[in-house]
Symmetry: C3
Subunit: 350 residues, 3 copies
């Protein structure tokens, strides 16, 4: 398996073996964080981070990942890029991608719902950089997918549950005042179904996700012989869950053809469902489920403090895992690291 | 003495021995800036710098400090943090602090008067990060204190005067068009009184500083057997001074309960005292005093060019010392550096 | 030859031998990019980058250059500097330069036409930092000159042509919607005339460049025994050219005494010359010329896609060379690198 130069825009585009290599290396890196095995992999190399949207965890964890691999991450904002847009003259992506490929060993891009005109534009933007550049592109979250978050979710769940195979994931919509993207949620559904979980997706009428992605989740479950159900009855949905992932997301009508994301309107609509919150009462219906969330958490809307800060919450572990999976991805795709997974997998047997 | 993991929000909260360890290490680091003893202390580690307020010296010196210790400083702006505020949904400090603790080896925070609602809010903000995070927090200047500036002041004064014990510090208010914070001034009064200086504080009626801090300065002087006086007669105040520290600061009425800092009004008021300027004539009354200032200097208001660029000015040396004391603090609190001060102190005997 | 500590504001201020040392080292560095000969030259050192204007290539290439030399580049924006201006109180350049000299090993400054009041102010600003600071200053592009771009141009041309001596450079104005600075164009005319090229400068009436710089170009050509001509007949100008450099630039009337750069008005004027574009038809008149441009390219205005992405375009190679010449400049002026050019020059004989 040679991942050098490979783009990562969605886990669905990588084979299970490739994803397992990332997860296995990430677990080893977490155990032995500053080992000399890893600290020179990107030495004197520049990883370019291109942030259309500000970020907390993503920026800190990618920049720290480059540092821990011996390299350096450049924090670039597109306001400084003078790129050509529909309305302004400027540099075309083809030129930017070619030149970045001369300077950097890899390129991370983050572009979310409020920086695009319509759903799918962010994904297209990343694929342009893949097409013209000659260095690997990694999504740092875009409108459709968030592969690093999906991998960190899996690492976190396995740390507590051992195997996740055959266990039940409840992905449940939450009320909220932040009008969130589909990317983390869709990525999590894809990778967890792929790796053998039963998936229940619960949300109020009108909050459908991308039908193409849902078709892939369905196929993943069929291939794994597991169950995929969509329900609007949140209470039933909690029963027997092993992991509860609660998160706000916008409606399919969130994008106005001219004005782009209609944030205020989406928030107003979401706040009409204050009962769509993960609380201790609902958690009692589960199989002593873990609680997870990609953060930032909108406490009091998506989840109560009691659950979010409770003993079954793994949100900080998952956040930490962002660092480890990203280090693993960068080591595998941007350096000549000859990785041989340990004979024994690092994770606890189920 | 083990300082690993210790927060530094104000020098008053550290023992004199601990402060002397910082000063001693800072002096050694200045002598031997790129010694291999120091250049791997933070290797592959990330120091997180959280800037609510822009900065020149603080940013440059902290970022260089991390580099010179082999690590990397991340420059983070809260506009990109999506934190919860009184008016907006977002992430709570508890969550941010927990996650930062997973990525970084230490956290610096800068939050000054124009980013808070009232005096004291900045200090509270830092203490929340201390409470929830598990990595050491260092103030990079906040509304109440500026410990790194205070330590750099002392290092600069000792370089020229040898011991500062029993010498006279004049802290004098200056006119100015910048509406400055109390932090540098209060920190300097605290640490210099603690280390044995006689302190004279001179300002026009109405420019009182924090009474709690003044009580601490008074106690420090009592404990050291030195003199602390507050005067509104600036000319008398210069007599016999060994160090003149001139600086503008705002009145206790600077914060409006809703509007926060009323900068324009403060500047207007301060400019009514053009005679509150340190000039050569007043410096003649001193004991050939050093002139110091935490910079940026508002030349022509706080001090004349003649004094500021004159032979007794130590402003650039003090600015340089910011680097050295910060390296020492980071080495002692964020790395496992086993520091033994040299048998002979590095500073000249008085 | 000892270049340690030397400022670089324009190639015209360095001797030909000094420029050839940079070019020779840059070629060696390109061949052996991560050689241990170079990767510790700036170890633990901070290069300060002061960006009045945002930038793509300049920022990425300077930051990568510092990383590849083992050091770290700080990205500083003047909005965070609180400098004194004609209208606001703040720190004077003298103070900022003194302090920066204590923290960094070198200082890069970028200040272009829209951040100054009139042509020449940017150059003055850089010279103030040279005067007061004690570390080498390198222009990262300012209103008059862009030395790193000029050196990268020459490196790119020599890679393809071997020697450029006696060959013909056509510098041709292009239409465009970006209102470009004179700096890249003037620098290229200076260095290429200095190194022995025949120079043809073609532009519509009214687009004269700086007469002092033109006098220098003329002198350079006289000294080299080559030809310098200015023409408004673009078609004739292409005949026999070995390199075509096409680029938009503003008129000498671009600066309003109070309002500074009048960008909209300049763009409106430039768009009236849509025929001033480099296209395949004109390129056929040349001696199979290379096409070059400092980027970002305003495709469809300055040059057609066919030429810009064609087989004779060297724009990406020149962009890459920015990295190599900047590494060479930093190694020679900011480190104690004892450089001996190889006996045999790295470039192909003509």
């Amino acid at each position: 398996m040679n991942l050098f130069g490979k783009h990562l825009l969605c886990t669905q585009e990588w084979s299970v073996d490739e994803l397992e290599a990332v997860l296995s290396l990430a677990a080893e890196m977490k155990k032995d964080r500053f080992s000399a095995k890893y600290t020179s992999l990107l030495q004197h190399k520049s990883f370019l981070m291109f942030f259309y949207n500000p970020s907390v965890r993503t920026r800190q964890s990618f920049e720290a990942a480059a540092t821990e691999l011996g390299g350096h991450a450049q924090y670039l904002e597109p306001s400084a890029m003078r790129l050509k847009t529909a309305k302004t003259a400027g540099e075309i992506n083809e030129d930017a991608a070619h030149v970045m490929s001369r300077y950097g060993c890899g390129l991370g891009i983050r572009i979310l719902e409020d920086k695009i005109q319509k759903y799918g534009d962010g994904d297209k933007f990343l694929r342009e950089y893949c097409q013209y550049g000659t260095i690997p592109v990694v999504s740092m979250a875009h409108d459709k997918f968030h592969p690093c978050q999906g991998l960190a979710d899996v690492q976190g769940a396995r740390e507590k549950l051992g195997s996740i195979k055959g266990k039940k994931l409840l992905m449940v919509w939450g009320s909220g005042a932040l009008a969130r993207s589909w990317c983390s949620v869709q990525e999590s559904l894809l990778i967890n179904s792929r790796l053998g979980m039963n998936v229940t997706l619960a949300y109020p009428q009108g909050y459908d996700l991308d039908p193409e992605v849902m078709a892939d989740v369905k196929k993943n479950c069929q291939a794994a012989g597991t169950k995929f159900e969509i329900t609007h009855d949140q209470v039933e949905a909690y029963r027997g869950a092993d992991i509860v992932y609660s998160r706000n997301w916008v409606t399919p009508q969130a994008y106005h053809p001219e004005k782009g994301l209609q944030k205020a309107q989406e928030i107003e609509a979401a706040l009409k469902y204050p009962d769509w919150i993960t609380d201790a009462r609902k958690m009692k219906l589960t199989n002593n489920a873990l609680f997870t969330h990609p953060m930032p958490v909108d406490r009091g809307h998506e989840v109560t403090d009691e659950v979010c800060s409770g003993p079954r919450s793994i949100i900080y572990d998952v956040a930490e895992n962002r660092l480890h999976v990203q280090k693993a991805i960068m080591a595998l795709t941007m350096s000549k690291f000859d990785y041989k997974p340990s004979a024994k997998p690092q994770r606890v047997a189920a």
